[in-house]
Symmetry: C2
Subunit: 322 residues, 2 copies
């Protein structure tokens, strides 16, 4: 017999800050539990208070260490912090990797900190679908700051900028030349740049390159009046982390002052509603005649008897007829 799921009680306990209840709700999100809509409905009235900070950057820049150092700094200010470590890169293996688990232990005994690794594998719609739900859980659970950490190459960092009020892009010296950095595509999405491992050779060059790149990137993307700061850190020793916190505060003030915060949040809600609706329709398409219809049309495409657009047309016609 499945365990009875008392959503009301679970939400209530999560709002009281009970870690196991929060974890349980996040598992419902990860599993795309059928009662998730009910959960979202119960959580929504209690949301909107958390500052959502995205933290991204290419592998090897020290994201885990930086998150940990940032956590320490935010905790010192008395803020409760929830962390979502999103791993969009491993769709098959299912589960966060060792690195994420290791650093959890550092804050394991702190009740003002909640860290969760989420693999977005398998999820149709991936990050864009599951992460806002997870943020909603932590927001409703009363965390002052929700940090979303994700590997920042590819689509993931574009998704993270959509989710966050403020996006921090981490870089490190010796990550490759300027072109490679630009390829990583992280320049345009940053509200705050952090050059970590700033005690290493090449840090000055990285900051210099970054300044040049920033000047090349269309400013309007970040809003006309915000100048992306570049903060140097040595996260492993906690150096410069205070400056990161200050940059975050300044950006938040700017968001509020420019009425950019409600704009970003409306855009986020728009994406989320769209993602959920698309997800629903996609599921219906795939389910048509228990999935046979799509497979059938695919065979016709492989046999070159139908082009994929015509096949898609037929699929949609079937959906409307169903």
């Amino acid at each position: 017999m499945p365990v009875q799921l008392d959503i009301d009680e679970l939400v209530g306990r999560a709002r009281d800050g009970v870690p196991r209840a929060i974890a349980r709700l996040l598992s419902l999100v990860e599993d795309a539990h059928p009662r998730l809509p009910e959960v979202a409905a119960k959580l929504t009235p209690h949301t909107g208070n958390a500052r959502v900070v995205g933290l991204t950057g290419p592998p090897g820049v020290g994201k885990s260490t930086s998150t940990s150092a940032l956590l320490t700094a935010l905790r010192a200010k008395g803020l409760r912090v929830g962390v979502l470590a999103i791993d969009p890169s491993s769709p098959f293996s299912g589960g966060a990797l060792l690195g994420d688990r290791i650093r959890m232990t550092e804050h394991a005994t702190d009740p003002g900190v909640f860290i969760r690794s989420m693999a977005t594998r398998g999820h149709l719609g991936g990050l864009s679908w599951a992460t806002p739900q997870a943020v909603r859980v932590l927001d409703a659970a009363g965390f002052d700051v929700v940090l979303i950490e994700t590997v920042g190459v590819g689509q993931s960092e574009v998704d993270v900028v959509k989710l966050a009020d403020t996006t921090v892009v981490l870089l490190a010296p010796g990550m490759g030349d300027g072109i490679q950095a630009a390829k990583a595509g992280v320049l345009e999405i940053a509200d705050v740049f952090v050059v970590n491992k700033a005690d290493r050779e090449g840090a000055d060059a990285t900051v210099h390159d970054l300044k040049q790149m920033i000047s090349l990137v269309r400013r309007e993307i970040r809003g006309p009046s915000w100048r992306q700061p570049i903060v140097r850190t040595v996260a492993s020793r906690g150096e410069g982390v205070e400056d990161v916190v200050q940059a975050l505060d300044e950006h938040h003030d700017w968001l509020v002052r420019r009425e950019e915060l409600p704009r970003r949040r409306a855009a986020r809600a728009r994406d989320e509603v769209e993602a959920i609706a698309v997800q629903r329709l996609r599921a219906e398409l795939v389910d048509l005649r228990s999935g046979d219809r799509l497979a059938e049309l695919a065979e016709l495409v492989v046999a070159r008897k139908l082009d994929p657009f015509a096949a898609a047309e037929e699929l949609i016609a079937d959906l409307r007829g169903s």
Copy 2:
């Protein structure tokens, strides 16, 4: 007055291998031109002959150089090769970067080679939507091999494995420790591993780590009887590239022998049809009442008067009613 677009003539000239016609068709794909379905219908009967090879790996492993070396080796065998360099990482800047353009010049005068950089920015559905269309163009234009090169961290390499008959994952020494490599999520998708820059310190360690990781990864993903080979190259000097070509041939033989090729292509067609249909439905959702409906619902979510699932429900109801 817009230039008259003669699809029949364009397809005919592309099939004759006229580079400008091929380029034009690819631009139609990139622009998501309204007459794309017509183009696909005309191209489809002439497709199915090209071997589609995906090439992915984290930034800095020498993907551009490897692609170029591979091109040279395949050309030496008399094969015509089309290259799609996909840059999913830069959604805003619009356009491929310098590195891609530089290496094009090397093969610029060879009529048996066609190279195109595509930014998948902006495209809803990104890679999964546009790339199969671009592959179809090159396939119909008679290229024996279509190489899809993409930055391999995040969702992009998952998409590339779906598109390719054979996926090559490039790594290089000193890309970070084993955990980082695993995070890059490239281990599970490789049919062939290439350790490039194999003359550098740490190459043996990388190969060793890779072997260990391979043994940890669930084998069945790649098919029970295929053992992922690890090829060492120094692409900048062309070393080992013949071995890569041989590994590609062996994998292709295996695909054919095991009847895995039609299976992969059916899966690919299925994804493509699904992506096109989802794209269509998404466009309809977003367009409801000129986009006002989604914006309206998003505002209600931000105001916490509606949760996003309920909002999505209403959006879909509107779609059905429209």
